[in-house]
């Protein structure tokens, strides 16, 4: 079966995100003063061939741990659905 994994990788909350900070500031300049605390991460989509959803989730998690996220500075979340 083919599964689709939707992965979000975000800078850890404790860490300064200079990109997000710059965008937050520009929100104010645009007049969107209600917007605050912008943080910018990555969204990764990939497909996995697996026997079950659980196996696909395990594979996606392995990919995150090994390469897609660096857990010293980033956290990630994975959502797997049938493709």
């Amino acid at each position: 079966m083919k599964f689709r994994a939707e992965i979000d990788v975000m800078p850890k909350d404790a860490l300064l995100d200079p990109q997000g900070k710059a965008v937050t500031q520009s929100m104010g300049n645009l007049g969107l003063t209600e917007v605050s605390d912008v943080r910018i991460g990555k969204h990764i989509r990939l497909f996995i061939e697996a026997d079950s959803k659980a196996t696909a989730e395990a594979k996606a998690d392995e990919a995150c741990k090994k390469i897609l996220a660096n857990e010293i500075m980033e956290s990630y979340s994975v959502e797997v659905v049938e493709a």
Partner: protein, 228 residues
């Protein structure tokens, strides 16, 4: 001592490093390609600066899975010498032969300029030959050089005397004003527990030839050659 300089797709300081080691320091240098699967008998591996794999995903993240890195990691883990400069440092942190990570500069800018470094570790070969407290002038050129490590990791780094260099001013003062990129405690380079793996963001190989107007970088290489 036989050095090996690895070229990854996107490395751009490999030739500078080879020139410094071979021409300025008279050492034997083996050119290593990222697809090589043996280290050709080198004693000291250097991962040079650049943008391996275009810095895709994260700096150094893809390079750590280059075929040669398996050998580099094994070499480092059994006590062999490994040094990473700039992108090489990022690769070592990702691999993870060195602790911590290198984040986007807090200025959100690529910074290319001379900075001063205060040698800190008195037990690592790359820094112990330098005069204590005396700043050396070495250039940096990076967009992702903000050193970070979680608190428990930092505690161990200090306990084991693993901080190699801190960004400082010409007089050797380390403070927020002398921190170019927001690195934790102004850290510009660290070593591992075994003191056989060195990583630093500044480029000593760009400051090791009198024709370039600065030979402070040579002091680091001399320290390595005199202490291992």
């Amino acid at each position: 001592m036989k050095f090996g300089v690895v070229t990854f797709p996107g490395s751009n300081c490999d030739q500078d490093m080879i020139y410094t080691l071979e021409t300025s320091l008279g050492q034997q240098v083996e050119r290593l390609w990222h697809k090589d699967t043996d280290l050709k008998g080198v004693d000291f591996v250097v991962l040079p600066g650049g943008f391996s794999y275009g810095d895709y995903l994260r700096s150094g993240a893809i390079a750590k899975y280059s075929p040669i890195m398996k050998e580099v990691i094994a070499h480092g883990q059994k006590g062999g010498y490994v040094m990473g400069i700039c992108n090489g440092f990022q690769i070592l942190c990702e691999s993870p032969l060195l602790d911590g990570a290198l984040l986007h500069n807090d200025t959100q800018k690529f910074i290319c300029k001379n900075v001063f470094l205060r040698p800190k570790s008195r037990t690592a070969a790359i820094s112990k030959g330098l005069e204590a407290g005396k700043a050396v002038k070495i250039p940096i050129a990076h967009g992702e050089g903000r050193f970070y490590a979680p608190e428990d990791m930092m505690k161990e780094i200090y306990q084991n005397d693993q901080v190699l260099f801190q960004y400082c001013d010409e007089e050797g003062n380390v403070n927020d004003r002398t921190n170019p990129n927001g690195s934790l405690d102004n850290i510009a380079g660290i070593t591992n527990k075994g003191k056989n793996i060195f990583g630093m963001m500044p480029h000593p190989e760009r400051a090791a030839d009198a024709n370039l107007g600065n030979t402070d970088g040579k002091l680091l290489f001399d320290s390595i050659l005199n202490n291992i």
